[in-house]
């Protein structure tokens, strides 16, 4: 492999590492992906003959609980990064596992929510509201799973990276955190749009 510049130290005139710029660009494209879906939601709701109130069909308490879970997981993610900044590997690993654990809690709650709906005979094909509900939350769930995979990887395989180049690992965890916060943010939009409005 070649030595590429600005992986660990930021380029002086841009003030960015390659990875940080990369993850922000990736998030910009994610904004457009979910932006497209939210635009679709608006157009379907405005143009549709009827539109139900989300709370009549969906389980608001469960979703509220999940919102709290995800926000907490964003906090633990920041704590993990902060621990790495202090070069404290043990604490870092602990907070990483806490983040993955909270992600698991989120998925479990989501599993019960989904199976409830399917049990009641409420499928994506039942109405356009349920269709967009399943699509948006399903896509969000894929993002949660992707984030958890990456976080687990850095929690388990981080030790040798930490020994070799702690600043590099810190950068990578920061970028992973940015993605995780974005996933959290998407949920903060999804929750009121689907469940409350």
């Amino acid at each position: 492999m070649l030595e590429l510049p600005y992986i660990v130290e930021p380029r002086p005139d841009t003030g960015l590492t390659n990875g940080k710029l990369g993850i922000w660009l990736f998030l910009a494209s994610e904004v457009m992906l979910f932006g497209g879906l939210f635009a679709a939601y608006i157009m379907l709701r405005v143009g549709g003959p009827t539109w139900p109130v989300g709370a009549d069909i969906l389980n608001v308490p469960m979703a509220t609980f999940n919102t709290v879970v995800l926000i907490t997981s964003s906090i633990t993610m920041v704590m993990a990064w902060a621990a790495l900044m202090r070069r404290n590997y043990g604490t870092y690993q602990l907070y990483m596992f806490a983040t993955v654990g909270l992600g698991l809690v989120f998925l479990t709650v989501k599993y019960f929510e989904y199976s409830h709906k399917l049990h009641d005979g409420l499928y994506p094909s039942t109405s356009t509201f349920l269709a967009i509900y399943f699509t948006l939350t399903g896509l969000h769930m894929l993002h949660v799973i992707a984030g958890m995979v990456v976080i687990t990887y850095f929690a388990l395989a981080g030790r040798s990276m930490f020994r070799k180049n702690p600043q590099w690992l810190t950068n990578r965890v920061e970028h992973t955190g940015l993605f995780w916060h974005f996933v959290d943010l998407v949920w903060i939009f999804l929750f009121p749009v689907l469940y409350l409005m």
Binding site: A28, M32, S125, A131
Partner: protein, 568 residues
């Protein structure tokens, strides 16, 4: 390094660039073959296809006579393959990957592994698209635009199309991220933004278009997949009647929604096809006129403005959908505005020729031909951008003629120019000038033979999607004989590519060996050895001047490379 690591799963931007370029060229050829079969049906409707008719099978062409469904498959896949698997991989993936890091003096792309993954996503997408021809019911057949509700109820080829597109979109997203980060982060010392070659600017803006315009199509693709696989009705209105019966779906969806999401990508996509071509042409014109580009800065500003505006013109593809006159007025206004930066770009290139002693080599011939061809394509777009004339011209052959002038004798000529121009960099050998000219002259004649009559047919009202080219329509009687001329031109164009194919392979083995800078060019890629080794440059590059310092008074040579100090 093992063979696999070096040539197949390589992380070197040059190898990946060549992989992209070769894949793109093969798909261009394949897409061209699909079109040649279609052109038989248009010229001689209802007659058995010669040579290959008997291989196609009863589902496509019983006793060699093409079924309308198969014609639709060919049309949809010709468009999809040419745009997403032909031109974009060659222009962005191929030239972008190979040339951009060299021009900015970088050792590689910023994310080499991502670069490899992005190529293999494209490859998988291509395999899925090709494989879809063998599904029951054949490949996608709802046009390259895949409009629902037709696409929602089409056979399984459409599902394969959607999965293929998701791979192609992922590939583009990863690639465009990589280009942007590379351009911003890996420029060598002294290479400020206004010293970047115009090609780099063009790729840079293109990457932003790909990054931000593709995700909404991914969203739309997911919704259409849900419609097809989970029985939702995002794009199916209530009470849709299919084959005389009301479709049993929940309804309440909107077919127009797909069109908005699709064109939100597909209009910027048009500029994705054009901007890299302009970048290539700009490099070649500056080099062969031996003087700086006229109005380099206004070109850079224009390309940035063009990028922004390309996001707010999409609904000019939808004037006839009944979205309302207010919307139409807005989008025709933005469309007229976007023609301004395009005209600035083209004018700068034209004015650059003024007063130059032009070297008419093969790359320059293709680059020069690009200018009037692109001009025809651009100017014929104006009536389509205004909603009133578009009522008459929408979905006729006029539209086909218009955008093919932009991408076929426009972009593809620019891509040929780029191949002839950078071939010595990639191989250390030059392509034959004689064969190059044998390629160029018939190509430009046949290109016009295909596309010029389309304007005439379009004015006569011939619709673009008729499987018999209008043979059964009385009103088209005067203009259908043109179909034969167009088809023979298309087959002639195929023959005209033979010198290119021979040239390409022969020059690789036995072309004239050249040094690292055969065109006496100024940009950094010519300061690396030919072909450049892994890591690209053998000495440190520091840029001290702008990209096109040709014929500087008082210098011994008529070119000053970007990293070279002037003689006092």
């Amino acid at each position: 390094m093992s063979f696999w690591r070096k040539y197949v799963f390589s992380v070197d931007h040059k190898v990946i660039g060549i992989q992209y370029a070769v894949t793109g060229l093969m798909f261009l050829f394949f897409g061209f073959c699909l079109m040649m079969i279609m052109r038989w049906q248009l010229a001689y409707p209802g007659q058995p296809i010669p040579f290959i008719g008997s291989w196609l099978g009863d589902a496509r062409a019983p006793s060699g006579i093409m079924l309308p469904d198969f014609y639709n498959q060919l049309g949809a896949m010709h468009g999809t393959i040419m745009v997403f698997l032909g031109v974009v991989p060659l222009a962005v993936g191929g030239f972008g990957n190979y040339v951009l890091p060299l021009q900015i003096g970088a050792v590689d792309m910023a994310f080499p592994k991502l670069n490899m993954i992005s190529y293999w996503c494209l490859f998988l997408g291509g395999v899925i698209m090709l494989g879809s021809f063998f599904l029951p019911g054949g490949a996608a057949q709802s046009g390259w635009t895949s409009y629902p509700p037709l696409a929602d109820i089409a056979p399984s080829g459409q599902t394969a199309w959607l999965f293929g597109m998701i791979f192609l979109i992922t590939s583009s997203l990863l690639g465009s991220m990589n280009f942007i980060v590379t351009t911003i982060q890996l420029r060598v010392k002294g290479l400020s933004f206004f010293r970047l070659p115009f090609f780099v600017w063009a790729q840079f803006v293109t990457s932003f278009l790909l990054l931000l315009a593709f995700p909404p199509l991914e969203a739309a693709g997911v919704l259409q997949l849900m419609d097809r696989l989970a029985g939702t009705s995002f794009f199916l209105p209530t009470g849709l009647v299919v084959s005389g019966e009301i479709l049993q779906v929940s309804g309440g969806g909107s077919p127009l929604l797909w069109q908005h999401l699709f064109w939100f990508l597909a209009h910027p996509e048009v500029y994705v096809l054009i901007l890299p071509a302009m970048g290539i042409v700009a490099e070649i014109i500056a080099n062969n006129t031996r003087k700086p580009l006229w109005g380099y800065r206004s070109m850079v500003y224009s390309v940035i403005v063009l990028g922004f505006l390309s996001f707010v013109v999409w609904a000019h593809h939808m004037f006839l959908t009944g979205m309302g006159t207010v919307m139409s007025s807005f989008f025709q206004t933005t469309t007229m505005i976007i023609s301004i930066p395009s005209v600035i770009l083209l004018s700068c290139l034209f004015i650059s020729l003024y007063g130059a002693s032009i070297r008419f080599n093969t790359p320059m011939l293709f680059a020069l031909a690009f200018l009037p061809m692109f001009g025809i394509g651009g100017l014929t777009g104006l009536p389509l951008g205004l909603s009133a004339p578009d009522i008459a011209l929408h979905d006729t052959y006029y539209v086909i003629g218009h955008f093919h002038y932009l991408v076929a004798p426009g972009t593809i000529f620019a891509l040929f120019a780029g191949i002839y121009y950078w071939f010595p960099k990639a191989t250390g050998r030059r392509m034959s000038e004689l064969l190059g000219k044998l390629h160029f002259w018939p190509s430009i004649i046949f290109m016009n033979g295909i596309f010029m009559p389309m304007f005439i047919q379009g004015f006569a009202g011939v619709s673009r999607r008729l499987a018999d080219g209008g043979a059964t329509y009385d009103f088209a009687g005067n203009v259908t004989p043109l179909n034969r001329m167009m088809s023979w031109s298309a087959w002639g164009l195929a023959l005209a590519q033979i010198p290119f194919i021979i040239n390409f392979f022969m020059s690789m083995r036995s072309g004239v060996k050249v040094g690292s800078n055969p065109w006496n060019a100024t940009t950094l890629e010519w300061q690396a050895p030919s072909p450049p080794p892994h890591g690209n440059f053998t000495r440190e590059m520091v840029v001290v001047r702008g990209p096109y310092e040709y014929s500087v008074p008082g210098q011994k040579e008529d070119f000053l490379p970007q990293n070279q100090k002037a003689e006092a």
